[in-house]
Amino acid sequence: MQALYAQLLVGLINGSFYALLSLGLAVIFGMLNIINFAHGALYMMGAFTAYFLLHLTGLGYWWALIIAPIVVGIFGMILERTMLQWLAGLDHLYGLLLTFGIALIVQGVFQNYFGSSGLPYAIPDYPEIGGFRGLQGGMNLGFMFLPIYRGWVVIFSLVVCLATWFLIEKTQLGAYLRAATENPTLVRAFGINVPRMITLTYGLGVGLAALAGVLSAPINQVRPLMGADLIIVVFAVVVIGGMGSIMGSIITGFALGVIEGLTKYFYPEASNTVVFVLMVLVLLVKPTGLTGRAA
């Protein structure tokens, strides 16, 4: 049973990354009509930013958690201003091709300087509260041993996902955003700067990816290709969940992570493929995805 719980936890962690990434993809697709192939590369940049912050400036994990999404988000906004915005009105496929090219450039540059092996990034050992040293160590829950960092990743991702949902579904800014997704011209006529909102939306989606990268750094190590395979799984998650609803992306992301974790316990040979197989099954039964509208 210990092993089962451990795999479930791993599943929940992967699920948090799926949720954070597919959430960003959905928000970006809503506003820009672009599937951001560079999402995996930007996730990797988030992890590397954390690594650089630690080794060049001495700023640790907690700073990285704030600074990395902002830095990568600004990088994303520059990409949007200089390149993506010129694709407005063209076929959606060009957005996919352009962002694929950006992903190749970013990953290639990092591979040149850092090779393909992983760089270690330690779990933070501060602040010391009670008997705990930062997020290191673990605690015994009775039925399983819980490494604190892993529990933190799941809970923190869940909070960030729900905060994003709240921002988009329940606030004034989110209302503008949803309105601009439906009809940008009309929203512009009301005096709202839609191009700037599009840029900020891209920055937000990219920032979420970078945040996931920082969270993943102590678990998966920092590697130039850490996002390359992940993004394909996230695409499958997006196909399964559909991009119509924010909450749908969050739930699908976590659920698929858990299913993957269970597969790793019961039938490890299929753990790499289970998400893709589920995608095929969903397409056969309900082609529009679980929460999606017809597209």
Binding site: D91, L93, F100, Q107, G108, N112, A295
Partner: protein, 322 residues
Amino acid sequence: MSALTDDTLPVTPRAMRDEMIVFAAMAVLLGLVPLTGIYPFFVMQALCFALLACAFNLLIGYGGLLSFGHAMFLGTAGYCSAHALKVWGVTPEVGILVGVAGAAALSVVTGFISIRRQGIYFSMITLALSQLLFFIYLQAPFTHGEDGIQGIPQGHLFGIFNLAKPTVLYYVVLAGFLGGFLLIYRTINSPFGEVLKSIRENEQRAISLGYKTDQYKLLAFILSGTLAGFAGSLKVFVAQNASLTDVHWTMSGEIVLMTLVGGLGTIFGPVVGAFVIIAMQQYLAGFGQWVTVIQGVIFVACVLTFRRGIIGEIAHFFRRSL
């Protein structure tokens, strides 16, 4: 949804004549290659990729479907042919047939699944399916995992042509390429091809005219996948191995890049694009990962400033369809 090609020219007898002249010139030029002393291995490899890109272009350029998983047909046909040739010891023609049949079967299944969604979703689904296949091949015993199937015997095609001789092999590959190219050309200019173009331009209208567009798309997908498989089978004789690189998503990306550089939806564009990209890889082989960066830069540059591609720009300049 805006169309991929912004200037569609009518199919006129003059356009057909232009295309046949260019085709004849291409065939003659390629036929003369062994006399020039150019390294035949490079041209054979480029020809295989050219056929692959043409097959891919049939879907994107004429059906508006961007497949991001065409490497799965290349790799599947490669593995099937390689296994048949090496383990079963079949003759080359049977080996090719096995590979093509494998790719055709795969394209029926994957086509049925992926055409259930359109546009961007179609691309993501094909990518995910090819990744699924990648993991299957990674674990399946007959592919020998990371090592791949190596040292594949070339044998005698139809018992006459000794494929171990580079010149013989070259003309066999060239014949295969030209045959596949003509088949695609014929398809594009057939009534079937016209319906396909109408689906690309406006699927709803095609449906309202009574066409069962899903069947057309599925058929185009199968044709494209099968021909891509044929390219994969030919490649086995050239490279004498079948490996995981051929199924990886980077390969799918390269196929897209070749077609984009040459010109999406042009007849000769994918051929030119394949030669450009393969030549670039050859010359830049010593630069390691910078090749990936350069490919990325080409992607970005093409999408931002050069969407018609090489042949597309030439055709646009002369107001011809090529």
